[in-house]
Subunit: 123 residues, 2 copies
Amino acid sequence: MFSETFKEVLGKEGVVAIVSCADGEAHVVNTWNSYLTPAGEDRLLIPAWKMRKTEEKVRKNAKVLLTVGSKEVQGRMGPGTGFYLEGTARFLKEGPEYDMMKSRFSFVTRVLEVTVTAIKQTL
Amino acid sequence: MFSETFKEVLGKEGVVAIVSCADGEAHVVNTWNSYLTPAGEDRLLIPAWKMRKTEEKVRKNAKVLLTVGSKEVQGRMGPGTGFYLEGTARFLKEGPEYDMMKSRFSFVTRVLEVTVTAIKQTL
């Protein structure tokens, strides 16, 4: 599910948007490209420190949208590419994947796990 | 409304997220930091090529959220800063500001004007 171009983007630093939606209201929070940690075929693990409003939204509606990109990676129209992802989110508070992320990102209070259901290269 | 740090971020290339929400569903589309064009005290002009779903959402609910940041600009916790903006959006199809944007971005079919109502440095 994660193409070489997608992985190349994760290797360039930039701002990721994580969008959640519940009660007729969207919320957006950011992380860094380099913090997105692919796990298995279709999951991303993301270190969470605050993200309290995202957690509240996800509890009501687990569907999330993510965007990530980099001007430094070649896209279909020249320099710069981006990806749009849809997925299902949950927050992990324990377990081997939580421990792995905690050892990598000491500030972690929870881990946002996104099971990606669709990924589209937008540029 | 637009701080020096905010303007510094616009000078570094990166991915902006523009989030709209209507009919209980969020939508997100991207642009580049360098495409955000401050106008007056509290407005941003953004070149639009497609953005059809965003336009459809904005017609029903004009409130949008934007995030923009850069790892290359110093934040409050070290290298990297980001901004979260709330605003009211509309699409311009003509007029002097449309013409100015069209001359700068030849691909423009409309201009997304965001009147910013809140801006918060998140990092």
